[in-house]
Symmetry: C2
């Protein structure tokens, strides 16, 4: 029998992350008076992470204590999806990186562990953050428990209500989680005053978490973000670096690479090491997949925008639906973000990536097919990647081509089962943003500076 | 860095199960007219599994299609619990077999996959079963989806209410799950008539599932049990066989082996291959751990008793609290069983195993310690093993001995997080069976035959 899983030993784990800033041109983040300098970020992040955020070194060493904790579940398996291939009767060869095997159940702890480590090294005692679906908050709670740090999580209200177990999970790892907007911060109180019934958004929750960090006068609290930023995506590249090693072992290279994209971290984690090859001339198609309900890369403009609702972050060069945009309540909470990682945005603007959008119903259909063939119940976010994988595998069938498809199984759906229930009872709908909504959301950028169209390649 | 996980490749997976019936003497199961013959079980189980149930071959080949599906997650990692050792400051070396990595999250699919395969081979189209906490029902739902079989699950009412996500999980794999007692069977209706508010029990749910199987006139439905029976425990021995190989790789052999025990399957799966060594003269302590609320091995008599409430099963030689016993509603639903596997019972009666009982609060305390050190949130059942591991590690510390402890991390607790919530809010209590309750429960055996005290060694 051919092995289902291509396994690496702990010794074969990558010892360095890949930093794509070494290989692409970027518009700088902007503060009120021009480009942001590292010291302006010091109240928000520990300086060692700020330095990593702006570094242009191509390879950055993974500290030993970080590796030691990643080894609880890493290297993650690369799996040949033979059962899915059979179910689709496709000539395509489908591989996935199974990031659902981590204790919190997703790829998120890859960076949570690194961030907790750097905060601890810098003398920080407490970390605040936001979370959408809860994957990120859980991951940071897990990481903080490993390093003995206090952890406070602001969870988008609609996900908090849909997924009560997430709060329990964070509590089990010792973290405190509240629904956002909360009454604990000025940002939260302002939103509630305007709209008491808001489902919340990642943008609002980020504002709350930053406020809570910078307003702690002890100086021992910092904020942590689970996606979007350069250092976060950097930490995720261990996924793609492992996948490359694993594919090399069996003499394969992907024709198509697919990952779901909300802020961009699981997508970039898998894709960036292959983007490097593409920059160097290799032929490979790379598709970030987003919800049609929150079509940042596929329909929004490439602009300078704030990462959060209350404009607490610098202006970032990215595709954005506007920092006041509150996405429809799709169950893939992790993809309900108005913006996108600047690095992913830059690559899309250059045509190095080709973004796709899928409707909610197609994602659950694909997810169910995978649960019943490959056996693992996927997270609602992962279902977006799966819908695209199914499309590409069927195209390969039509074309009669043995394409090699690689995708990221970013997490399991064991804490999202209520969403599957709703799918079964036909209570889920396809949200699609109208042109009017889109135009309305764009007004917010009118007086903002515009990013340059840079060409890295 | 020393590896945290000792890994086997798919090629190194055991190709045979270990059958302990080759090495111990057993009282036979009894029907109304004496020992049960295989054909009497034919309406309940497919004959290929009945033959396996009574086989005394020491090694039984694992069919290739079963191995193929087990490879989705197997071989499971053997993990050195360095973080727990550090948290306890113990000289003991603690290893665990991580069975939480399967798609349903426990050891249960090891036998579910095998049983689904044998049923399919025999031409069966639908399988009925019971489930306590939901781990078994989920595992069988998963296995049936892999083989295209219909699956019906009767879930103990209290767990059904405590854990609504379990039903969704089974539905995602295409299975139908109802609360037991249900109105769908005569057994269920009888119990409800007598006690409409019953929390249910595994014994009642088993009666319902057997009735549903044998009353299907098409002849294409059979019943499946997730523990207790010889063939079920046989399929679980892959756990211990892998663990032995993994320990051999690092030159270790355990001084103490620990597993939680409800019906006995995860315990036996890890322990039986080592029991073989013990029978052959090796020194090793082996501890099944049960809830003080349901103290079958530690306080109940060794008797002949039915496996289910409605006396649909033969009389089995086992430690039992009586087939009408409804255990207190501890959250470890998988351990709420009135009896115990006959093979485990036989070994306890001979003194080859030393059973332990632990209170509910101690199990969550230990579980939380492990969640925050090793990083994985344990199932409430696993917490019973953990409480015993912590005790033994502390004893080793007092004695200053570098004992090697091996235990089975039987499942994760991601669908049991509400129980952790209750622990945090002090809503969990220690149930302990009183002597009066125990004496009362024993009356039921008065007119039953008594098992012989056999000596295998």
């Amino acid at each position: 029998m051919e092995a289902r899983k291509i396994i690496l030993t702990e010794d074969e784990m990558p010892r360095q992350w890949y930093n794509i800033l070494a290989d692409i041109k970027m518009n700088p983040p902007l503060g009120p008076d021009g480009p942001v300098s590292p010291d302006m970020l010091a109240p928000i992040f520990p300086m060692n992470l700020v330095e990593q955020e702006v570094s242009t070194e191509r390879w950055i060493d993974i500290p030993e204590p970080v590796l030691d904790i990643l080894r609880i579940w890493r290297p993650s398996p690369l799996v040949r999806a033979t059962a899915l291939e059979k179910a689709l009767d496709t000539p395509a060869k489908i591989y996935y990186k199974n990031e659902s095997v981590s204790p919190p159940g997703s790829h998120k702890p890859n960076t949570a562990v690194a961030q907790a480590y750097y905060n601890k090294e810098f003398g920080i005692e407490k970390i605040t953050t936001e979370t959408g679906a809860g994957q990120w908050g859980s991951a940071l709670a897990f990481a903080c428990s490993q390093f003995g740090l206090e952890c406070k999580v602001y969870m988008v209200r609609i996900s908090f209500d849909q997924k009560p177990y997430r709060k329990s999970m964070m509590a089990t790892w010792g973290a405190n989680c509240v629904a956002s907007p909360s009454t604990e911060t000025q940002s939260g109180r302002d939103v509630l005053a305007e709209n008491p019934d808001t489902p919340g958004s990642l943008g609002i929750a980020i504002s709350e978490a930053i406020e809570a960090a910078v307003s702690d006068e002890s100086g021992k609290t910092r904020y942590s973000l689970g996606s979007v930023l350069n250092h976060v995506l950097l930490h995720q590249t261990i996924i793609g670096l492992e996948a490359k090693k694993q594919l090399e072992k069996i003499g394969e290279y992907p024709d198509i690479i697919i990952g779901c994209a909300g802020g961009g971290s699981n997508f970039a984690g898998l894709a960036f090491p292959f983007v490097l090859d593409k920059i160097n001339g290799k032929e490979v198609e790379i598709y970030p997949v987003e919800p049609a309900a929150c079509p940042t890369l596929t329909r929004a403009p490439f602009v300078y925008d704030h990462g959060d609702y209350a404009q607490k972050t610098p202006l970032l060069p990215m595709y954005s639906l506007g920092h006041r945009f509150v996405p429809p309540p799709v169950h893939a909470g992790g993809l309900r973000y108005h913006g996108m990682a600047p690095t992913v945005s830059q690559l899309v603007s250059e045509g190095l990536l080709e973004a796709k959008a899928v409707g909610q119903l197609a994602t659950y259909k694909a997810g169910l097919l995978c649960a019943r063939s490959e056996g693992i119940i996927p997270a609602p976010e992962t279902n977006h990647a799966l819908a695209c994988v199914v499309d590409e595998a069927m195209k390969a069938k039509e074309e009669g081509k043995e394409k090699v498809i690689l995708f990221n199984w970013s997490g399991h759906g064991l804490l999202d089962l209520m969403a599957y229930d709703k799918y079964f009872s036909n209570d889920l709908i396809n949200y699609e943003l109208s042109d009017e909504e889109l135009q309305e959301s764009e007004k917010i950028f009118e007086n903002f500076p515009k990013p340059e169209l840079l060409k890295s390649v």
